[in-house]
Symmetry: C2
């Protein structure tokens, strides 16, 4: 496992493409997950997520942080009450308890690295009240509506 | 510091390009360092190193691990007694106490991400005896000679 070669866009030798989450456990669309580095001697994991055109990750928040780097394509990212365009090699810091969601562009995938602590809390989904609060911002509502 | 945009090849907003190491502290050539993510709430750092064509990192080893992903250019990597060609998006796991060095191609830079634990030991340089032992392998000697 010393060198694993890229074998195509967003694909590596000896690296499984996994379901993003259990189907039905949370809202998401057209997203896969790969664990690039996972060793107990490293205190973080490095994962690769890829969202197909028009797809999106779950809108969620948690105590743990995400350190994200875009490595393929283009899309948008919701962080709290702000929407950011993101593209190749942009860096995104997702602070604790910040509502966040990533969406691929309609015509391009969005592939990104995400570094997280090995030990971390489970994501929280918004309550209907929290979602209504988020949607009060028209830019956020437009983002959430795709 | 939520979104930091790429502002050129291997450059980001609000991210300093640093010396790789203190000059004279160890052998290296034409390499810079940037710390992309460094937050005490994350237990690892993500750094970006860029080696100019013909340059190289220090030949060293340490107890801590490196998780490396090539994100620009092309080069070669020594891991223990094996030399590997590396290119865009290849993944390299550098296990504890493995002698390692990265070299950019003669005509291309080599830019790579490196994830490490925040708390880690200092690198060890080879003794003359260890270097002679490494050089006993002709492929390794040719690599070290550039």
């Amino acid at each position: 496992m010393t060198v694993r070669r890229r074998i195509g866009e967003g694909r590596w030798e000896r690296t499984d493409t996994l379901a993003y989450k259990e189907e039905g456990s949370a809202p998401f669309k057209a997203i896969t997950r790969q664990i690039l580095f996972d060793d107990p001697r490293l205190q973080c994991q490095l994962r690769y997520f890829e969202i197909a055109p028009g797809g999106y990750s779950t809108l969620e928040r948690h105590e743990h942080m995400h350190a994200v780097m875009i490595v393929r394509g283009r899309g948008r990212c919701l962080l709290g009450d702000a929407v950011h365009e993101v593209e190749l090699h942009d860096l995104v810091t997702i602070a604790p308890l910040t509502w966040h969601q990533l969406r691929a562009a309609p015509d391009e995938p969005l592939g990104f690295l995400c570094m997280v602590n090995n030990e971390r809390d489970r994501p929280q989904l918004p309550t209907p009240e929290q979602l209504a609060e988020l949607r009060r911002n028209p830019a956020v509502a437009a983002f959430l509506d795709g």
